[in-house]
């Protein structure tokens, strides 16, 4: 696919103005206007919708933005398309299909058509089982991959860095051991690393 287009789309989802207005819109109770013009480049539309719901279940909208407000599905799609290697790209839809099978078995429906409550319950049990498997096989579980993508997208977003964490782009000095007063926010620099 066209890299320039990917960057344009990324600029859309990373653009400060867009984030701010969507956040404001959500915070004041407005719903985002249905699906934006974005078309997934790696996932199918159905897969993207499902991933979107999984991401939102991991990080729902509360009094702070969730996965959808922060356009994490777009981020995940871009990562799958451009960062994942060929083998990982082949595996992903198969793993998603298997995930859906398990969900169907547990809730009686696929993920999108399960209720929020059922989704939550399923994911908790599913993750527990998968983490145990992961320990034995050493291979990263599908749900772990999704979560990692969601959390990376979340924590490297302008919103999370500047609002939820202590963004310190030009610290000037370094002090290695200082008293904290009250609850400290994670300190993050320009590179988005907290440690």
């Amino acid at each position: 696919m066209n890299r320039r287009k990917a960057i344009q789309q990324t600029a859309y989802l990373l653009g400060g103005a867009v984030s701010a207005s969507i956040i404001t819109g959500v915070m004041s109770g407005c719903q985002p206007k249905g699906e934006p013009d974005w078309t997934p480049q790696f996932l199918t539309k159905e897969q993207a919708a499902t991933i979107g719901e999984i991401a939102e279940t991991i990080l729902p909208e509360t009094d702070t933005p969730g996965a959808k407000s922060l356009h994490l599905t777009e981020f995940i799609d871009l990562m799958l398309k451009e960062v994942f290697n060929g083998y990982e790209q082949l595996q992903f839809p198969r793993e998603l299909a298997k995930f859906e099978e398990e969900c169907q078995f547990f809730t009686g429906n696929n993920f999108i058509n399960s209720s929020p409550d059922e989704r939550q319950k399923f994911l908790v049990l599913h993750e527990k089982k998968e983490l145990t498997n992961q320990k034995q096989t050493g291979e990263k579980a599908f749900i772990s991959k999704i979560k990692e993508l969601v959390l990376t997208g979340y924590f490297t977003s302008e919103y999370a860095i500047t609002e939820l964490m202590n963004y310190n782009p030009i610290p000037t000095k370094f002090e290695g051991c200082v008293d904290i007063e009250g609850l400290a926010k994670i300190q993050v620099g320009i590179e988005g690393r907290s440690a």
Partner: protein, 561 residues
Amino acid sequence: MQDKNTFDVIVVGSGITGGWAAKELCEKGLKTLVIERGRTLEHVKDYPTANTPIWDLPHRNQPTAEDRENYPVQSTVYAFNEGTKHLWINDKDHPYTTPPDQPFNWLRGNHVGGRSLMWGRQTYRWSDLDFEANAKEGIAVDWPIRYKDIAPWYSYVEKFVGISGQAENLAQLPDSEFLPPMDMFCVEKRLKKSIESKWAKRRMTIGRVANLTKGHNGRSACQHRNLCYRGCPYGAYFSAQSATLPAAAATGNMILRPDSMVESLLFDKDSSKATGVRVLDTKTGKTVEYKAKIIFLCASTLGSTQIMLQSKSDRFPNGFANGSGELGHNLMDHLFNLHAYADFDGDLDKYYTGQRPNGIYIPRFRNVWDKHPDYLRGFGFQGSASREGWESKKGQPGFGADFKKSITALGGWKMAFYGFGEILPYHDNKVQLNPNKFDIHGLPTLYIETKLRENELAMTKDILATAEEMLSVAGAKNIRVWDGKAPMGSGIHEMGTARMGKDPKTSVLNKWNQCHEAKNVFVTDGSCMTSASCVNPSLTYMALTVRAVDYAVKELNKQNL
């Protein structure tokens, strides 16, 4: 100067040593041509990502699949990511080969300033423990110099560079001229106390680093953003761009010619002197010859050796000044990717401000006062503490509103140690020219053969064991050690292949970094190294360069060159 292609001196390479050679030669009044194979790269102007926050990088700083394809070797480096990839060489355009079961990671840039832009900035002096080792142990050949020969040049370089650190008065790690030291994290202070009380001779100090803790020589102090490897708009760490090249340029005596690869040195056998260099202009594809009285090879370890291997003639059928047959041999690096991690309880009411571009340092304590039964030489540790942030939350179980709330909580303290071990010089760790494989400009490529051997494997075990032990004694929890099984070259301290020595039969260079067989050619980058020590080598390269320039110019003035 008769014509525009004739200079007093030619310096090949504009990096950490080339920049110094240029500065010193130009300041002594010599018209100096600095030839750089890579592209131009200007201080500040050409640091496009110096201020780019992670959310403005399309892939949130991760290399893409395409990057890993174009940079299969470079993309393995910790310092390679979306924000820095433009500073690393394109492996596809500039390949090299190794035996299939003996990988080597050759990590480098391809631009003015070279790795002085991306380096880790750790700077440590050698001591006679290092210089005497080969002779005492009957390994390779003796260094033709000792600490007293280089000590004044260490001082000279350090005063210009600006090194932050703490004087410790250790025989095996001489102090430098220091700017104020950086601070330690809480957990590091605890660890230091624990180590030094349990082992009276061990020391944990703050890293000695070429970042400025106060304004120095017109360069501003470090802002503690820890983004050095993207290029620093404050000039707060030492690089050719921030310090030596501007000084050279200020004299009006330097011509800098990027996009120019030296194909070979030109040699006149009647006078036994090099006369100049043949250069391929990589932009025009044209070849041009430059003449000079003196040549300084500062093209990096394998860069300089490759040029010498390419410079065959009747006089030098095996490569330039290679009567000894040692050119290309005795390639070394440091043991690398040997880690230990642990968690520490307590100090939850303490945090830190700023991102420190430096770590702690534990100087060598093995084979210093007593002899280890399993191996020769030794290692040091770098490392750093931190409080767990968001990165560790990626693997945390849970979903939903409560999970979301919990993941922005600041985590506990943890510590990481990284061992750097000395690799011995082995004749069979070597490079030669590939007969049939060429780079994108049609120039030869290297075939690199290296192996870690018994001494290195025994040392590796002890590195991991001592790291674990020190953490355990300090009360750390959840200690994990990791042997990354890194191929040689991964330390990015590749050195040797044109070693210094007393005897022309067993070395390429004499005690002044002069080719034994061509007195007007000096080689002062890592290729000159006769052994590797365990400390970061760049400070020693810089000191040797400045010392060699001083000698070369004195000889020139005495009309000996």
